[in-house]
């Protein structure tokens, strides 16, 4: 059982602040590090992996600082985002090499086991340069697992995977978490994170925006004012009916459409079809205008 503690960590490059006063604790189980691209997820993972010192604050693994502490790698398995591996080697040679570098007593057996875990037995004899992106990701995973680390750090592990590989990796991460390992992976896709992670940490613009299980995060993300655009056979009547309900806070009519500020999405989603049926109005379009993850995130940051 290992715990990573990030305490009052900031990291800046020149004048650019990449991480701004983040404090979080990551314990056993699967934790998803969620945030839009450029939020600082990689910077955080790189610091947890000991390849970047925080400008201020501390990053510790079970109480010991990770930076400049090569002994920590006995407990850490890292799946970096970087594509580069020793691709003139075969998958199996690469995993065995990682086992040897870990100083394991029986590198061959450990490697074979790790390769089985990621279901790469069939391709293990081929050169890594012939692998697809998803296969590369799996062999990197095997290399990170070979010494059975108590901490597993994965930077955007689902990138470039096809749906089947994605499901397989999700299953694997869940199993590792259930084993009591501390698994942390980053992603910018909420669905991905909520399917695997029992705990979610959200970072936006280098700041720690939210923390909790996926239900809490999901509620945070959907439970916010969102602007919806509606087109119907009678926008004006629909507008007056909608504004009468407390789930909206404003309506705006223009030539062809109606924009409604929605406070309570659950209620709104039931209200619209009901109203339309009662009033005999045909709905042509109902769409959120700013559903992008970035706007969700900026809402979370603004809320704090």
């Amino acid at each position: 059982m290992s715990v990573i503690r990030i305490e009052k960590v900031s990291r800046w490059y020149g004048n650019v602040v990449a991480i701004n006063d983040v404090t979080m604790t990551i314990g056993p189980g699967v934790t998803g590090l969620l945030g839009p691209n450029g939020a600082g997820k990689s910077t955080l993972i790189t610091m947890m992996a000991g390849f970047l010192p925080p400008s201020t604050g501390t990053v510790t693994l079970d109480g010991a600082e990770v930076w400049r502490n090569e002994g920590a790698y006995r407990h850490i398995g890292l799946v970096p985002e970087t594509e580069a591996v020793y691709d003139t080697l075969t998958g199996s040679q690469f995993v065995v090499a990682n086992a040897q570098l870990q100083g394991l007593p029986n590198p061959g057996a450990a490697a074979a086991e790790a390769i089985t875990t990621v279901a790469m037995e069939d391709a293990a004899g081929r050169r890594i340069s012939t692998y697809s992106k998803g296969m590369k990701q799996r062999i990197k995973m095997a290399a990170a697992l070979v010494h059975e680390p108590s901490v597993l750090l994965l930077d955007e592990p689902f990138n470039g995977m096809d749906p089947r590989q994605r499901l397989h990796l999700m299953d694997l991460l869940r199993r590792m978490g259930a084993d009591g390992r501390t698994v942390l992976f980053s992603s910018h896709i909420l669905e991905e994170v909520q399917q695997v992670a029992t705990h979610i940490e959200v970072v936006v613009s280098g700041r720690h925006a939210a923390s909790g299980d996926y239900r809490a995060i999901r509620t945070l993300m959907t439970d916010r004012p969102v602007l919806y655009r509606l087109r119907s056979s009678d926008n004006r009547r629909l507008a007056s009916a909608l504004i009468a309900d407390p789930c909206t806070s404003g309506a705006d009519l223009d030539d062809s459409s109606l924009q409604v500020q929605v406070l309570d999405f659950e209620r709104f989603s039931r209200l619209v079809p009901t109203l339309a049926r009662e009033l005999g109005i045909r709905l042509l379009e109902v769409a959120p205008t700013d559903e992008s993850l970035e706007s969700v995130f900026s809402y979370l940051v603004g809320r704090r």
Binding site: S42, T43, T46, G50, F51, E70, T82, Q100, L101
Partner: protein, 238 residues
């Protein structure tokens, strides 16, 4: 563990096209010598001049540059060094293994071809040929330390190393008096002068000073590389 680091390093060094360059350089040197031996009557006359001005001043620094940067800068560049660094391995083990391997490559593809070149040019003077071989190896050790340090410190190791070897070692080290005293080439030449006793071999530096400087550069270079590797920051994609 050391064997694994060496194996991975070799895979990077010779697994890619750049590894070919390592073979081309000594082949060029040897081909030139064979050509001269076949066409010119008395190659013994300019044997030492060619070995020094072309072999020691141009070919050797380039072989050392490719070997040393290929052994470490390539992995830092493409990020695959992360697989070595994310292991409980002392950083000096990594540097010393890689440097040792680079020196081995320089011995095989720099020092031995240099000796062979000397024998081809002047078969009667084995002593001078051997002296140049030993001198090339000693210079290669110092170059390895320098280029290994540059590889860990700078992301532009190859460019900086190329400028250093072509401008400083090849040009300044041969023709500019003040700079000569501070070039690896002249230090190794001092050793070659001592070992060969050939009349035309003359270093700008005295042997004891040259040896001290060679040792110092090697020690400082490797120490610098080790300390910098300990706090190597891996860039993130963000």
């Amino acid at each position: 563990m050391v064997a694994t680091i060496a194996r991975l390093t070799l895979a990077t060094l010779f697994g890619h096209r750049r590894g070919l360059l390592l073979f081309i350089l000594p082949v060029v040197l040897l081909a030139l010598c064979v050509l001269l031996a076949l066409t010119v009557d008395d190659t013994a006359d300019f044997s030492t001049a060619l070995l020094q001005q072309f072999g020691l001043a141009v070919i050797l620094p380039l072989v050392a540059l490719i070997a040393a940067t290929g052994a470490i800068a390539t992995e830092i560049d493409d990020g695959s060094i992360v697989y070595l660094l994310s292991k409980p391995i002392k950083r000096y083990t990594i540097i010393l293994t890689k440097a040792g391997l680079a020196i081995g490559v320089i011995f095989a593809l720099g020092a031995i071809p240099m000796t062979l070149a000397g024998i081809i040019l002047d078969p009667s003077d084995l002593r001078t040929a051997l002296a140049f071989g030993i001198g090339a190896l000693v210079a290669g050790i110092a170059y390895t330390a320098i280029f290994t340090a540059i590889s860990v410190i700078s992301a532009n190791a190859v460019t900086i190393g190329l400028l250093y070897s072509l401008l400083w070692e090849s040009v300044m080290g041969q023709y500019v008096d003040g700079a000569k005293a501070l070039s690896v080439q002249q230090w190794s030449l001092a050793l070659i002068q001592k070992l060969s006793d050939a009349p035309h071999v003359e270093s700008a530096v005295k042997l004891p000073i040259a040896m001290i400087l060679l040792l110092a550069v090697t020690a400082v270079g490797l120490t610098l590389a080790i300390t910098r590797l300990r706090s190597l920051v891996l860039s993130t994609s963000e």
